[in-house]
């Protein structure tokens, strides 16, 4: 996974280029055959331009199985102190002795998961931070293809005509609705795993041959 370090001849921008060159699954592919990468970021704030990524967690889903052997969790060296946001994600500066540089972590992500459909709960925020960080590090933002479990849930509930209470779309509420095990909140990998469970449940409760484009439609 550190192969990129030895491969000094590749200019950094090529990492993004290589990622973008790998074809994404076709829209008519069955969701069951589509590789997904479920990702979650913990952040120091909500502004992608000012705030920073504190940690990343991801886990792939292949053939409807969450593959824990490829699950990863990285703390990221932050250019500024973790500060106030520690109240949310429980990470303190002292936890960062094993932290990695964001460049290293993003390189691993882009080199391993080209051709994957990325998944997150409320993905706009994660997508934005990943793009801004990539722009800074590689001079170029990768073309991610994201689907959003929050939007899929919203679509499902609206279709069933269910009146939503406040907070009904937050991850813990979604897990409870799907009778899935709850996990500790605000840990990037734990949340990515929970999101993956939610995705599987949503997929299983759709029609059996649901395609990727069906899913992307629900996710809009």
């Amino acid at each position: 996974m550190l192969a990129w370090l030895n491969n000094k001849t590749t200019p950094l921008s090529h990492i993004v280029q290589n990622f973008n060159q790998v074809a994404l699954p076709a829209g008519n592919i069955r969701a069951a055959d589509c590789p997904f990468l479920v990702i979650d970021l913990e952040l120091t704030g909500l502004n992608a331009k000012q705030d920073h990524i504190v940690s990343l967690g991801w886990v792939p889903v292949r053939h409807y199985e969450i593959v824990l052997s490829d699950a990863r969790h990285y703390l990221v060296n932050s250019p500024v102190s973790v500060g106030q946001s520690a109240a949310f994600h429980g990470l303190h500066d002292k936890d960062f002795s094993h932290a990695r540089d964001l460049a290293e972590v993003l390189t691993e992500l882009l080199q391993h998961y080209a051709g994957y459909i990325f998944v997150a709960h409320h993905c706009q925020l994660d997508l934005r931070f990943l793009e801004v960080a990539s722009q800074r590090i590689f001079g170029k933002a990768p073309k991610f293809s994201f689907i959003d479990t929050l939007n899929i849930e919203l679509y499902r509930l609206q279709k069933q005509g269910i009146v939503m209470k406040k907070d009904a779309l937050r991850l813990p509420q979604c897990l409870a609705r799907h009778k899935l095990p709850q996990s500790g909140q605000h840990h990037a990998l734990a949340d990515a795993y929970s999101c993956a469970l939610l995705l599987l449940s949503q997929l299983k409760h759709s029609h059996a041959d649901i395609t990727l484009s069906d899913l992307q439609l629900q996710s809009r």
Binding site: V67, R72, Q182, S183, S194, L200
Partner: protein
Amino acid sequence: MEIAEVTTFLAGTTPFEQLSSQELARLAGHISVYYCQRGETVQLNTERLMIIRTGIFALYSDQQTLLTKLEEGDFYGYQLLLTGLTDNDNLVCEEDGLLYWLTAEGFHQLRYQYKNIDIFFQRLFGRRLHQYKAQQNNSRFTLKISDIVHAHKIAISGDQSVQQAASLMTEKRVSSLLVEQDEQLIGIITDRDLRSRVLAANLAAQTPVQQVMTPKPYTIDKHAYLFEAVQLMSRHNIHHLPVLDKQQSYSMITATDIIRSQQDHPVYLIGEIHRQTSIDGLEHCASQISGLALTLGKQQVPAHEAGHIITTITDALTQRLIKLAQIQLGPAPCVFSWLAFGSQGRMDQSLNADQDNALLLEKEPVGEIADYFAALAEFVCQGLARCGIILCPGNIMASNSALRLSLKGWSGQFARWVNSPTPEALLKSSIFFDLRVIEGSKGLFNALQQDILAKTHENALFLYHLAQTTLQRTAPLSFLRNFILEHDGKQKKGLDLKKRGISLITDIVRVYALSAGISEVNTRQRLVQLAAKGVMDSKDTQNLSDAFDVLAQLRWDKHQHDLLQGRDVSNLLDPNVLSGLQRHQLKDSLTVINDAQSSLKHRFCREL
């Protein structure tokens, strides 16, 4: 990589509890998680271990018979991983759930690294799960003779002189000698005998030993429990017991040896019982039984041994009551045997057992004889009731005149049950076939037992009906969460460990034992004999014996718990209180019973 939700679940699941957090994280790294939807058939043709995280899954045989249901913490796929053989089972999801798939590599690594985990899955496969539990220390309550006496045979021949006996005792620093002739035990001689029978009687130093020895002494096998030696010594007021190994003299055990080994043994209660001169005294002794039971429990005495101890106490109370009755009524007008049936007969009595007893008389119960034994039976049965062993609701007691019969009378009674069996009659009479003599003539009892076994041995018609009666009651199929799963798919709360478990095994084993003419009545002993004689497959007898132990242990633990809570002792188990391992064991035991009933049906209930 660490997902707390996954590792926390694994840490709480048998047999992974013993793994460190690091190892749990490594194990989790070999897992893939799958969401299964109701109605979906799970793909089983994969060499991975399935761990059920949530949901309910029904397992069907290839004939589409419901085998069991799997729930959180259950496993599937170890069969294929251990043997490489597939079966054609079908696993259907009944309630949405998550499955963990552990790679073959992860599974085998774990097995090689942890002997206990390997044993767990081997036993799960071999249905011999209970042996997974840690080795228990040899409790002092269940010490056997062989634990405290060693091969230390000091013997003299019967024609040697008492002077030689005295010098041998002095040389070996012992207080008694075994007396042998042609390698056979013929008597014992003690230093007390030398005093009272030789010196006090003014006999010569050259008097042969056999003239003053105690001939045909009581003996005990080296594999017997120590408390059985206490029992024998107390009953007969003796202090020396020759110990036999395979019917050959092995050593001697003395009262002093026993006292030295365990000064504060609560089974001294038995000694106390034999010293009592009134029913009040016996009642006081009996009031200590529940305290003793709790002590036994604390010492982790296995249930079957505790059952043996409780039975021995009931035996002692019965024997003492008979003695007290005879003090009041005078000596018996004829030879008799006091019989125990049911759990006391089988020596697996529990704390809430009722009385099941009867009298076997040498002569017909008429006139004086009838009056004497009516009075004796009334005295003993009421005495036992005062000691907390409740009167039999079905009136199977010696105080019932229909159960005070001569050998001829009993033989006729058994003949009626055996020769014209009806299900109703057999349902009531089956416990009579588990009988043991508690007091009185052993010879008379043996004659009756031989007579019964001659009637039942290979008696196809009788065995057919007895097996049919046995099959009228079934064990639950399995249980799920807090519910007992019945064969018809219905769910109930609470499992009667006796009616729906222990008794079923006892009943099954009785049919086989009677078919083979086996005189043992203890269920575990019957199984040993059935395997030894090749009547049943030794794997089947082992499984039944294991299941019997698991159920008896659960009931014993339940009773202990009831006693501690100050509640009435009950056999009704709430599956909710079970640990992970106990759940596996109980499910497994129910499967063993259901399988054994099928075999029984196949063996005894085919067309005649």
